[in-house]
Symmetry: C2
Subunit: 322 residues, 2 copies
């Protein structure tokens, strides 16, 4: 809680899991109280179009347009362009839906007109009726590369084309060392009135690590008066979605919420783990920094409840510190 | 007829009208006997994608995929991407269908991989089962600009966005003076065994003029042993389709098949005009260079019949010359 009595929150997030908590937070916090900063390490150019999978997942989620059946992409999607690309012998491993294509075309046009990715994202969000600020981590390209037993793969080649099949040895974030935080991200992370910084339950290695890899992010997190709180994406030794658990196994990390906590290390002031993992809490080095609650977000109510739990935990941690 | 006894034909064409005759020619001539060279002056970049309206009209027509209901674009088209672009506030004056988009995406990808426009077109044609060579006039950009009472407009802005409404004063073909004929075009136009060169019933000012504006094209036509024969796109003082008649009026030209003939001037060895204009033939300076037949192509049979008429006329003209 800052001195206005109104919490101000920065949420760092990747794709699906992060977007769920972000949605919950938008139902609890006003647009002025919440900044959602999104990983762009997954971004890539496909057919000359700027595809931003995490930004779009967050955008579709907040706009109520996400395809809950598929678990990715837009609702009411059709695939006529993709079918035709197939007939033309073009690459179809990345499943571009007809409606989804519009966001990439629109972004191409905005970027070509000189907009930054932040500007373009803001315009798209406004058009989709999203009031809470959704901000790319950087306006400069950062590209996640996956070191695998089959060589170095760009993230989408690993994730979509190869379906996360190759064994992972490590990651590279091309461009991260030279990238600067977007203006909105820099403003939010260095805001002395920030009440909490949440690391959403996104993949620590490919959704959160690219954000942290940019110069100044880790130190800003350390220096922030706000508690930095991660929500475990690992519940009962499994990832809710995506390759996080497979990656932890392959990287030789402890496959549990504790493994996630240890991965983030001294970055965290607090850690939210699932009720199902309450039995693990004894093994954590700082039990006072833990909060157990339901983190599995099936319904909108679950998302809102987790948002409230996180906010209350942040408030409790802040109270304890002061 | 060349000395092999097999006619070899070069057809220069623009969009819809040209594509109809080109289709007729493909039903009469084998792939080795016909080269179809297409105007690229209409091409433009839209959302970063290379859109080639005349090439695509010819391609869709030859592949049996053209949208006969709309008169442009692909059959069985859907508009989900375009609807979504509209919601996103993006430009929608150029009606990109979901299936049509695939050809532009595919071409973007091929060009980005280093293919020439000729290569990309050949690949797309192969995929669509087109056996006759369809060749862009150049692999370098030529961009038709329309001088109007509302200023200089790029062709698609004039043609699609403004629906040909502004009054036309003239044309510019940006890049034409520096452009070189594509290899396939150069080969066909300088082929000493060529039996006929047809200027299809396309708009003389915006479909044919950009082709003629490139260095070497007019002189190659003059030097070719093959008769150069245009088919009038104006029938009974009206254009079958498109703004040709409106342009002729605004440019102060005689709005008739004779006006078209005079526009092409000394370039032509022969001219095909519609039966309906037989009454005009007395006014032509060289009645021996004329051939009257049905040029209005409603059915596939009409297209084939006109192709045969053109071939017979070319053969007659050649016989007369020798």
């Amino acid at each position: 809680m800052n001195n206005t009595g109104q919490p101000r929150v920065l949420a760092l997030c990747g794709g699906v899991g992060g977007a769920k908590l972000a949605l919950g937070l938008t139902r609890v916090l006003s647009p002025g109280q919440l900044t959602i900063v999104v990983n762009t390490g997954d971004d890539f150019e496909h057919f000359g179009l700027p595809v931003c999978p995490d930004l779009d997942t967050v955008t579709y989620t907040l706009a109520g347009l996400s395809n809950t059946e598929l678990g990715w992409g837009r609702q009411d999607e059709t695939w006529h362009c993709l079918e035709t690309l197939e007939q033309l012998g073009a690459d179809t491993w990345f499943r571009l839906g007809d409606r989804d294509l519009a966001i990439h075309l629109s972004r191409r046009s905005l970027l070509d007109n000189g907009d930054t990715l932040s500007d373009a994202t803001a315009q798209i969000c406004t058009r989709l009726g999203i009031e809470h600020p959704v901000i790319p981590m950087s306006d400069e390209p950062v590209r996640t590369m996956v070191e695998t037993d089959e060589g170095l793969l760009s993230f989408q080649h690993y994730f979509v084309r190869e379906q996360c099949r190759p064994e992972v040895n490590g990651f590279q974030f091309n461009g991260a060392a030279e990238a600067t935080m977007s203006q909105g991200f820099r403003k939010a992370i260095s805001d002395p009135g920030q009440s909490a910084i949440f690391i959403c339950p996104s993949n620590p290695f490919v959704s959160v690590a690219p954000v942290l890899a940019m110069p100044g992010v880790e130190s800003a997190l350390h220096n922030s008066p706000a508690p930095v709180i991660a929500v475990s994406p690992i519940v009962a030794s499994e990832a809710i979605k995506g390759p996080a658990a497979k990656m932890m196994r392959e990287l030789g990390l402890e496959l549990s919420a504790l493994g996630v906590y240890e991965h983030y290390g001294s970055l965290l002031d607090g850690f939210v783990l699932d009720e199902q993992d309450r039995g693990l809490t004894g093994a954590f080095p700082h039990p006072g920094r833990l909060h157990c609650c339901n983190t599995v977000m099936r319904s909108l109510e679950d998302r809102i409840a987790l948002a409230r739990e996180c906010l209350a935990f942040a408030s409790a941690l802040s109270g304890r510190e002061h």
